[in-house]
Subunit: 135 residues, 2 copies
Amino acid sequence: MIMQKYKEIGLKLTPQRLAILKFLEGNTDHPSADEIFRAVSEQFPTMSFATVYSTLDALRDKGRLLELTIDPGKKRFDPCTEHHHHLICISCKKIVDVKQQFNLDLPEGVKGDFSITGNHIEFYGVCPDCRRAIN
Amino acid sequence: MIMQKYKEIGLKLTPQRLAILKFLEGNTDHPSADEIFRAVSEQFPTMSFATVYSTLDALRDKGRLLELTIDPGKKRFDPCTEHHHHLICISCKKIVDVKQQFNLDLPEGVKGDFSITGNHIEFYGVCPDCRRAIN
DNA sequence: GTACGTGCAAAGGTTTTGCATTACA
DNA sequence: TGTAATGCAAAACCTTTGCACGTAC
């Protein structure tokens, strides 16, 4: 169960943190801190932003969470930590996971002596719902 | 010259806008709005954020500028509008252009009926300067 | 018991907005 | 001259911080 699983993280488990972890578990909506705050506040009316942010920071530092820099003006969070990419609807901003692998080797010259540690692709498009709305 | 070139954009040309355009011309630093504001303020001490932001918005809408969502917490702007990617130093946050092309076709199933309009790769790494500093 | 988490409020940083004034075309 | 840009200040957002109190371990 969820307690068991998150004992391994190495953080103190509080009811607030469990609620955040539960909300994120399997969530594919790439929620913002504010969305997480509002969802968890229903259960913990005294929840504060400080707690949400500090928990998210801690989970990110432990590698249990990805902080996405996809949305101008706010961070989004992704509980799926396996390497993957994202497809974003340019109309409604919906974000969908893309788990396919791509060959993204950079030739020596292009790298300019950077040592490459990772990559992330953002695909842009129009989702079915928005395409229907336009037509 | 620059006036000639930017008459085609279809915006009213003011001294302030020319100064912004000149600052961006050939700039590969991917500056933030604040950096642009500070640079252009030296020439126009009365320059305001409103003017910088509205000019950047207008240029972006005219396709003369890319708004990069690479830096959490602030927008960065790129005057190079040909399709390219970016290599980001995870230590000093320096951003370098990557003009190589990649084959990023998505199979039908993955697309989930999205119509794809574009893509952008972020490469992460450590730049030579930062690697030297660490060693 | 102690270190760490929580909650509140205030502050910090970036971007947006309203409105009167100014200037391009 | 008419429309659009500018400048200023305030507000709106998102995120971070300080500190007193509370709680997991």
